[in-house]
């Protein structure tokens, strides 16, 4: 069963990477968001280095939303979702495998790109490491929350903006603790570890919730 789930994850990642408009568009979008913020708030490097972690987090949050609507939609339209459902493996684990593959292809590149984009925002080296670490711990939670939204909109046969409206409120706690952990290195006397551990906990909890809720949503759309 491990092999089958790894195959599902690998196939999801490969599809995201190889189809046009997949993972690369997410990266370009991330770069664009980080670039337009200085036009909005002004090119003051002191200000940018202070709010830099927040900019990177918001950019990553918005970038993870891209491509989510296709996570299950393509499988549904070509019938492979039914085959996965009939394969005898628990749908919960298949949802988790799909989420893992999606994160490898879309979330991980954002984490890797974050330090380089942080240079544009004049974030200090220590803080840069902190932001990257929080993104590494937090983007799985964003992808998993998005997986529930993707499963719901696939079951309904509706995509587009609805998925963003449904998913974003649930991403707020992740954003809060991610930014507060990253900012604590720059401004605060507050310690880094407590919010970071809560962030890790959020990722683990959302893995459980996303598996159960995503599978329930897909089942409701299949019958």
């Amino acid at each position: 069963m491990i092999a089958a789930l790894a195959a599902v994850a690998g196939q999801t990642a490969r599809l995201q990477l190889r189809t046009g408009g997949g993972a690369l568009v997410g990266l370009i979008f991330f770069l664009t968001v980080v670039t337009i913020i200085p036009f909005g708030v002004g090119p003051d490097l002191n200000l940018l280095s202070r709010i830099g972690p927040a900019i990177l987090w918001i950019g990553a949050l918005l970038a993870t939303l891209l491509g989510l609507d296709r996570l299950f939609q393509d499988d549904r339209s070509d019938g492979s979702l039914d085959l996965l459902h009939l394969s005898g493996h628990p749908l919960e684990l298949i949802v988790l495998a799909k989420a893992a593959g999606h994160w490898l292809a879309t979330g991980l590149p954002l984490v890797v790109a974050a330090p380089f984009l942080g240079l544009l925002l004049a974030i200090e080296p220590v803080a840069l490491g902190a932001v990257t670490l929080t993104l590494l711990a937090g983007t799985p939670a964003l992808t998993l929350v998005g997986t529930v939204g993707a499963a719901l909109t696939t079951a309904l046969g509706r995509g587009g903006l609805l998925i963003a409206v449904l998913v974003l409120p649930f991403a707020i706690p992740v954003l809060i603790f991610g930014v507060s952990a990253a900012s604590s290195v720059i401004v605060g006397p507050a310690p880094f570890l407590p919010p970071f551990l809560i962030l890790v906990a959020l990722s683990l909890v959302s893995a459980v919730v996303a598996a159960v809720a995503g599978a329930a949503a897909l089942r409701s759309g299949l019958d």
Binding site: A155, L156, L162, V209, A217, S220, G221
Partner: protein
């Protein structure tokens, strides 16, 4: 008549029709008594003056914004576990009412905040979590609006509602976990209410009256939704037949 008989939509319609006039009458009396006690009888606060009277509508709205979500979560369980059409109807009918109560709690809170805190809005833990609750309500309404098949929409909304219940304890305990501007609970506490009885009684009457108002609105909305579904079914039969 056992309560399970109400699961039949026709019996539910008859029951709601008989109950609603009485419910509205009690609601009107409760609101009138509560508002009179709150606006004229209850003493003015020694710091806030008459400003404190906003509490008598703000607090019930805030309680009901969470209670309505609780009703929706129970209805969501009804949809997922028993696949009951009446639970679908209750879910759909409760969402706009809950959104309205949450909106009113936010607005009355902002109007109260300006003279007492000096600002309409702060990014305080409780204010923020209630704002998220409002956005979740709006997302659910958008979901209901965007899907034609009511059964499918009900199951999807139920899953989203149950995932969203994590926000309710966050709202309730946000003022205890994060020591922020919004005051901590002063009525439902383990060591008894810290609010003076002269203000507590009008507040409780208002809360009861608002709960009855919520029940009346929910019953009416459910009745409308059942009738809307019947009309839709008749239109489909007429179009295909």
């Amino acid at each position: 008549m056992p309560i399970s008989d109400l699961a039949n939509p026709t019996r539910f319609l008859a029951f709601a029709g008989r109950l609603l006039p009485w419910l509205w009458a009690v609601t009107a009396i409760g609101l009138a008594v509560g508002l009179y006690l709150g606006l004229f009888v209850a003493p003015a606060d020694f710091k806030q003056g008459d400003m404190v009277r906003i509490m008598f509508i703000h607090v019930p709205f805030a309680w009901l914004s969470m209670a309505c979500y609780g009703v929706m979560a129970v209805a969501a369980l009804g949809t997922l576990v028993w696949r009951h059409p009446l639970a679908d109807v209750a879910q759909k009918a409760a969402a706009p009412i809950g959104a309205a109560f949450t909106f009113l709690a936010l607005v009355t809170g902002a109007l109260w905040g300006k003279p007492t805190w000096g600002t309409y809005w702060v990014w305080d833990a409780r204010l923020t979590s209630v704002l998220i609750l409002f956005i979740i309500y709006l997302g659910l309404i958008a979901l209901w609006q965007s899907v034609e098949d009511p059964g499918k929409a009900a199951r999807a909304a139920a899953i989203l509602t149950l995932v969203g219940t994590v926000n309710i304890p966050i709202i309730k305990f946000s003022v205890d976990w994060w020591n922020t501007l919004h005051q901590p609970a002063s009525v439902f506490r383990l060591d008894g209410p810290t609010i003076d009885p002269s203000m507590l009684w009008p507040l409780m009457i208002m809360a009861a009256a608002m709960t009855l108002l919520f029940a009346s609105l929910l019953l009416m909305a459910m009745r409308n939704e059942i009738l809307r579904r019947r009309v839709r079914a008749m239109q489909i039969v007429a179009a295909t037949g």
